[in-house]
Amino acid sequence: MTTDKNSPKIPLGSGSYDYDALKKAGDDAIAKHKGDRAKAEDAIADAVDKANRSPSKDADPRYTPGYETVKRKGSTGETETIQVPVAATDNEADADAEKAAAPEPQPRSPVAAKS
């Protein structure tokens, strides 16, 4: 296969992508890191991840609020992107306090529901 070895590649993984959004994300990443192939490919990987419209992505704990994206060197020396939990904040502590103060939801009686 013949491709330009100097152009950054696009890793799609498995997901659902809108063509125009994916094109813009890739081209923006290249424009931002012009001449630096490694950085551009990292940026494209992030952009592709953001462009993924896979329905299951939002429910994936790696993408829920409270997690952040970090880069690290993998075992083979490749840079990889992972999601890690961010440290607890005051807001989270407040949310926990609110949750503790709220009344417990009562289970609905199936008998009452039928009548």
């Binding site: 296969m1 013949t2 491709t3 330009d4 100097n6 152009s7 950054p8 590649k9 696009i10 890793p11 799609l12 993984g13 498995s14 997901g15 659902s16 992508y17 809108d18 063509y19 125009d20 994916l22 094109k23 890739g26 081209d27 290249i30 424009a31 494209i44 419209r53 896979s54 329905p55 299951s56 939002d58 429910a59 994936d60 704990p61």
Partner: protein, 400 residues
């Protein structure tokens, strides 16, 4: 008796789960897939009780639970309509998503002017196309030099973002002239990725007349495309066959829903009047197959009720099968290509009408030895090939 259930009354619906273990009830209005056949077999997970019974007989086995093997054959019919459906809306594509195929949707056709430097195997696209390598793999591309009518479309097998050059898996009769127009039509493409990220889990409902079987956490153990040429001697259609492992969610009484006339009104297009190219040479053939077999398992985990985590795809292998008409060595030298392990593309296109035109492209395969045989009185040569690429090794494309 009126309560007997009829085996021909079958319907299958499939939905993408929000996450592992989260059953998503398929909706008969939006999630039905038009299958030719479906299988759902239930298997026991048991362990032999080693206790001696004081007789010749073994102890009763200990029942750990049940698992299911789900399968089906889907005659390949596109979604039809005026433009590609929303992302994730073409139900058969959800099986591909679960198998690690990325879905790309281009909503509208775009035109551009061919630049200088095209060849009979590469089209120089406008400099406004993507700067990302590989971006257009699987994209349909149309130009007057590619052909006429349905055959005016080829599928991009490789793409250079630095030069905006689209490489096609066929050899054109003439070089596309500088300044002439090309079109990238609206399309829906499924591109086999690296499975580096976790693919989606599927929920599936299979109705057998008045009973519905629900499954969750389906992961495919195989996905196969079979594209037989249709003619007098062979009247079969291209299809996609899948099999997978799943967990039983529920079995309930529920009447089988009928497929809508909107789906049934889209004809299943036969593979004829299209294209078949191997190593960019137009060849007569009878069949092209592409199968991906996955190893699916769940990691041990005592904290789980089932003693294991959700199913994962652990490994996969891919195989191409071809049944080709024997031809002169001067026209196509199989023997030489086998010995040299030449990397070559495969292209198959067929279809009928907007949203029902298919292309299957394998950008790079190498051949196992092919052997001569008989097919309806003609000499055929059949054999296997293997994809050489890890990423974007195959694309199934539907265009409008």
């Amino acid at each position: 008796m009126a309560w007997n259930h009829r085996s021909r009354v079958v319907a299958v619906a499939i939905a993408v789960q929000a996450g592992a273990g989260q059953f998503q009830q398929p909706n008969p209005a939006t999630d039905l897939i038009a299958v030719a056949s479906a299988t759902n077999t239930h298997d026991a997970i048991t362990a032999a009780d080693p206790t001696a019974t004081g007789t010749v007989y073994e102890s009763n086995r200990v029942f750990f639970g049940k698992t299911a093997t789900i399968g089906g054959t889907i005659p390949l019919r596109g979604p039809g309509g005026a433009q590609p459906p929303a992302l994730g809306a073409w139900a058969p594509g959800r099986i591909l998503a679960a198998g690690g195929w990325a879905e790309v949707r281009k909503a509208a056709a775009t035109n551009g002017a061919v630049g200088a430097g095209s060849t009979t195997t590469a089209i120089q696209l406008a400099n406004t196309e993507s700067a990302v390598d590989g971006f257009l793999i699987g994209a349909p591309i149309q130009h007057a030099s590619v052909g006429a009518g349905f055959q005016q479309t080829s599928i991009v097998m490789a793409y250079s973002g630095g030069t905006t050059t689209a490489f096609i898996p066929e050899t054109l009769g003439a070089v596309p002239a500088n300044g002439t127009n090309y079109t990238i039509p609206a399309y829906l493409s499924y591109i086999q990725g690296t499975l580096s990220g976790a693919p989606v889990y599927l929920s599936m409902s299979i109705w057998r007349d008045k009973k519905r079987y629900d499954y969750r956490d389906l992961q495919p153990s195989s996905i196969a495309f079979n594209v037989p040429v249709a003619n007098e001697a062979n009247t079969s259609f291209p299809d996609m066959t899948f099999q997978g492992k799943a967990l039983i969610q529920a079995i309930v009484d529920d009447a089988s829903p009928a497929l809508s006339s909107a789906v049934l009104g889209i004809p299943v297009p036969p593979a004829r009047g299209g294209k078949f190219y191997l190593d960019r040479v137009k060849l007569g053939h009878q069949q092209l197959g592409f199968t991906t077999n996955y190893t699916v398992a769940g990691a041990s985990n005592q904290n789980q009720a089932s003693g294991q985590d959700n199913y994962d795809i652990l490994s996969a292998n891919r195989q191409v099968t071809m049944d080709i008409n024997q031809m002169a060595v001067a026209d196509f030298d199989f023997h030489g290509r086998e010995d040299a392990q030449t990397k070559m593309p495969v292209l198959s296109t067929w279809g009928m009408g907007a949203g029902n035109k298919f292309g299957l492209v394998l950008p790079s395969v190498c051949l196992d030895p092919f052997s001569p045989g008989d097919r309806n009185g003609y000499v055929s040569i059949t054999g296997n090939a293997y994809v050489t690429e890890v990423d974007k090794a195959a694309a199934l494309t539907i265009w409008w």
